[in-house]
Symmetry: C2
Subunit: 351 residues, 2 copies
DNA sequence: TTGTATGCGTTATCAA
DNA sequence: TTGATAACGCATACAA
């Protein structure tokens, strides 16, 4: 047999259980059972001999072959939301990924970042996920009601949604309406009535919900929402800067501004500086997420915290449960909390 | 044959080429050739029939089986440097990962994040990397001279180092000494002579090199390095804050401080605020990396920029080249540049 | 032009 | 207690 390897890159030939079997004068099955500690028992003496040979040959099991037959890869797919190609939704996504990786370490899983899933609105788009390389998937902030998610539900592919919600999928998220209410309550409690918002992107579920919740919260406080103070932004500092310029250019300005997330707030800080508007003396600001940056800016940003570490860990553990066949629903909605720092004060008129 | 699936999770049975062959009344090989467009040609009519059946059965190729035989997974392993378990070296690592993911999208590769590689100082520790799940690996900021890297070199496993350097591995990094020199030159040009440093961690190659380079640069300017102004820190804001407190508690203070990276600088900003030290009036600050946060803090941080996007793209492309058998060395050292912002000024004494 | 048969490295199922 | 052998799903050398 010609042995022209197509695999030009790896020079040394890997030892297989076959090689070990030959060296140790036993059958491949015995080798397999010895290396895996079961399900069949192998006498200590022969097991030791096999282990020695394996070590001498630098044997390492081929997990591809193994997962072909066991149908388990011990890999979790992660599908990041990507905004205009860039994967990262700022520091937020990072924390989430970090939490997933930490949980995976404990659960002996690896993480496959699916780069090829550009869209999720067809069955076909999800094929890269279903080719056996991973046992299940975590979707971070998926767009709502996508065809892809429905398909996964239909075929029973294990998956969880984090920062996202679907009745038929295991989901982990926060109640945005509660979070936003905390912010508006805080403004109202300080005496603010002229409250504006740098809104989040409608196509992201968090953006949509926070925008809606703001309107509701204002209504429930009997406060009127001024169209001129509702400025659209995306979850990005640059966008916050631009939107902030628009807002601060109005003839009349609000005394408080709720930003759809901390990155937007960071951009708004810059706009305030440009317009020589002081925080919190001239204008109070609240963000959302409690991103690391919220304590880096001056004054430190008052914001709504969501427990990302907990969420990512729960999501990861739930996915592994689903993969192992547990069927009970594990969805959970997490608690938010207002973190008071230095970006809020009573409105000027009160003083 | 009993068909008790061990795979409890996935309910629907996947169609295989065998199923397609049966339905389309052709052999499996014909199906394979039709689906892969070669290497054998298949008449258009029969090919169309096969494609139709495949689509009707929602066929998706099992990439595990495929890669077992082709010995290519089209997956790139990424081994992140993890500091005390947390994966992220701040915004820096994120940008790097983002660049890798973007490059992978273009190159049709996915990314496997190896969570199980806790250490790299033995052959065995690297086994999770060598089990066939990925074709090669990118190491981000690996510790220097690790046994693991040498092992990969020895067995010819394709890999690249980014923010790291080894003569025998394809490496992509910056010349820290040039970057540090830019910073010290800038300080010196402004008339500073009393220059301190919040040092990076010695165990990271960037930390080590920047510390060393600072000493050299100072020497070449004929400036004396004061031990009392050289404070150890790790690449983290909290550490920068602590180190900053130590530095600012000295009876005599420097007029300029070089921070080993931007995160440390961010922490130092906080220390300055605590001690009512104004930047840049009382003290000038330069960071390293040009992280997103450098424009979020006030005053915006003057820093040394490294081209992370370029580096990550080059590293990814180089790894794919190596996997495909190209052997020429592709190592490259990238250019740094000083980004002047508002955190530096002439020292007080001059005014 | 097409079908059969072999092998990739495992695990699992036989039979001994 | 063990060894042969059949899968797993695919790609491909060989036959026809």
């Amino acid at each position: 047999m010609r042995n022209v390897s197509r695999n030009v890159s790896q020079s040394t030939k890997m030892a297989t259980i076959k090689d070990i079997a030959r060296e140790a004068k036993v059958s491949v099955s015995t080798v397999s059972y010895a290396l895996n500690d079961g399900p069949r028992s192998v006498p200590d003496e022969v097991k030791q001999r096999i282990l020695d040979v394996a070590s001498r040959l630098h044997y390492r099991p081929n997990r591809v072959a193994r997962s072909l037959i066991t149908r388990r890869s011990h890999v979790l797919g992660v599908v990041p939301t990507r905004i205009e190609r860039d994967m990262i939704i700022g520091p937020y996504f990072v924390s989430m990924l970090n939490g997933i990786v930490n949980a995976c370490e404990d659960l002996h899983q690896d993480v496959l970042l699916l780069t090829q899933l550009s869209t999720m609105d067809s069955k076909e788009a999800l094929y890269p996920l279903l080719d056996g390389r991973c046992d299940g998937a975590i979707f971070i902030a998926p767009s709502h009601d996508s065809e892809g998610i429905h398909y996964l539900q239909e075929i029973g592919f294990p998956h969880v949604l984090v920062i996202g919600r679907d009745e038929r999928s295991t989901s982990f998220d926060i109640d945005n309406s509660v979070g936003v209410r905390l912010a508006v309550d805080h403004f109202a409690g300080l005496g603010h009535t002229k409250i504006g918002m740098l809104m989040g992107p409608e196509e992201l579920i968090d953006g949509y919900e926070r925008n809606q919740s703001f309107l509701e919260s204002m209504r429930s406080h009997g406060l009127t929402v001024q169209e001129k103070w509702m400025i659209r932004a995306s979850f990005h500092p640059d966008s916050g800067l631009e939107a902030g310029r628009v807002l601060l250019s109005r003839k009349e300005r609000p005394t408080a501004v709720f930003c759809a997330n901390d990155e937007v707030a960071t951009g708004f800080y810059k706009a305030c500086k440009e317009f020589k508007v002081r925080i919190p003396e001239d204008i109070s600001v609240i963000g959302f997420d409690n991103a690391p940056t919220s304590t880096m800016v001056e004054p430190n940003l008052t914001t709504v915290k969501q427990p990302i570490d907990q969420m990512s860990r729960h999501a990861t553990e739930a996915l592994v449960s689903l993969i192992e066949g547990k069927t009970e629903t594990l969805s959970r909605r997490f608690i938010t909390a207002l973190v008071e720092r230095q970006s809020t004060a009573r409105p000027m008129e009160d003083k």
